[in-house]
Amino acid sequence: MREFRIFVQKEFFHIFRDRWTTLILLVLPVLMIILFGFGITTEIRNTKFAVYDPSRDAATQEIVNKLESSDYFTLDSYLSSPGDIEQLFKEGRVGFVIVFGEKFYQSMLHTGDAKIQLIADGTDPNTASILTNYATALINTYQQELFASQLIAESGKRGITAETRLLYNPTLKSAYNIVPGIMGMILMLICAIMTSVSIAREKELGTMEVLLVSPMKPFLIILSKLVPYFTISIINYITILLLSVFVLKVPIAGSLVLLTALSLLFIFVSLSFGILISSLVEKQIVALLISGMLLMMPAVFLSGLMFPVESMPQVLQWFSHILPVKWFIIAVRNVMIKGLGFSSIIKEVAILTGMGIIILMASIKKFKYRLE
């Protein structure tokens, strides 16, 4: 056991004597959660809008006030002609423009065909659709209030009003979506990438050869490599949870024990992945590229962290199934955000366990081959 202890200590020296490695392992996760948590946001706040209003009556004034008094929008300016609209978008000054029809209030009261046009910048479709949805909702509210107070609807027609309620994330905070994703990415980054690079480094430097000639069991060599990264993953897991609860204000709705067990399972899968990659390659840079391109990139794009998987082409959806991180993120969402119990994540746990065992077996087999 003494050789194992000395060996684990050596691995910690490798990590803490290299400033960049230390930074990547301990500071990067904190930065990522703060950047993603605050920076990448799908919320709309204080977006500027312009108004072209030939009517200038009570109703249009009321609607503009309604938009401006919300948290989402700020009035930029009134336009004197519709021709200015394009120029505004080119300058990027406003998020959207609202155009009222002529004789708006009159039309609304009498002919019932008052027209409003919402113009948004389609080069960023996500933002554009969120903006117009919010604005439409506000305009609808105004309409209902007006009908209620003035009883215009006594003529008989009362439209159906759909009321949307978002469960689990009532205020539409994007951090709810970000935290599980970041957790998956960071654990994978540390376990898979750093482990595979560290083993590949020993091969590249020639120290692995010396270790393999020594009486030390290959199994122990690998195990002692895993201990530091496992420890650091646990530290990061705790940091992420603390940051998300106290800084991003995302509460842990479900069981902490279950969430921890789930994360340990994912750490195990990622570590196995790291060993498998390192058993296939000889160079650090290759290990880095493979783990970066094969694990991180798809993890970011296909795991549902940024784009919904459901709206992707069928082929990509199939591909996303083989990514462990996707299942981890789904399970974390269920436990941490929705507060569901074990029965809700049986499928994800089973898939992750299966993947872990298969990957570990493949890497052990591969590692033995290298000794023959």
Binding site: I6, F7, V210
Partner: protein
């Protein structure tokens, strides 16, 4: 007493025969030079002797243990220094010594005492706490060799240990090899430098996976009517099919 005995050892990778039916033996305390052009099969043969590769056929006994079935015991009785520099650059000098001593099961207390003795012998006392990466290459190679024999192995395998080292340091390095041999450690060394071949008690020259010559340097020079080992080597290498020179 023979510490290495090899009979008809062969290693094939697919249809390629890297080591072709070689037989030789090495006496205890001998400095045995293992020569050959690149690709002649030296490294493959050495890896089989160290228990890193399993032979396709034939038999080998190293330090009294069968290389095929008792490779764990073989590994515990040998030391190994590879052609790549094999100490950890980001560990201190004494940490490297402790790491390898620990792997080979040298007791902690003994390691401490002998580390100081060893550093004094090498004149490295002041560098005990230095990171290895701050040492010049020649020093590192000397340290790597000392580490490879720290656990008093029966045999030490050196794979091109003096590559890239200046002539003065090479000379000092060979003095260390002689000292180790006086202590009874058998030295099995591969090299590219023909002047170093002259320092060996006996040398074998591999061509295309076979051992084409095996004797003391002086006997080989006589046999091939050559003035130096360099000439002997070139004479044999010319016969090679894949001509590594």
């Amino acid at each position: 007493m023979k510490v290495i005995e090899v009979e008809n050892l062969t290693k094939r990778f697919g249809s390629f025969t890297a080591v072709d039916n070689i037989s030789f033996s090495v006496e205890k305390g001998e400095i045995f030079g293992f020569l050959g052009a690149n690709g002649a099969g030296k490294t493959t043969a050495m890896r089989m002797l160290c228990g890193l590769l399993v032979p396709t056929s034939g038999k080998g006994v190293v330090a009294g243990y069968d290389i095929q079935h008792q490779s764990e015991k073989v590994k515990a009785s040998i030391g190994y220094m590879s052609q790549k520099f094999a100490l950890y650059e980001d560990l201190k000098v004494w940490e490297n010594i402790r790491l390898y001593a620990g792997i080979y099961g040298v007791p902690e207390k003994e390691t401490k005492e002998r580390t100081d003795m060893l550093l004094a012998e090498l004149g490295f006392e002041k560098e005990k706490e230095s990171l290895v990466k701050s040492l010049p290459l020649g020093w590192r190679q000397k340290l790597a060799f000392s580490v490879s024999i720290f656990h008093n192995p029966e045999i030490v395998f050196l794979d091109e240990p003096t590559g890239g080292v200046d002539p003065v340091t090479r000379r000092q390095f060979w003095e260390m090899i002689y000292k180790a041999s006086e202590r009874g450690i058998t030295v099995f060394v591969t090299t590219h430098y023909m002047d170093e071949a002259e320092y060996c008690n006996r040398v074998s020259i591999m061509v295309d996976g076979r051992i084409d010559a095996l004797d003391s340097p002086s006997a080989l020079r006589r046999e091939f009517a050559a003035a130096s080992m360099d000439e002997v080597f070139r004479h044999l290498a010319r016969k090679s099919k894949n001509n590594g020179l």
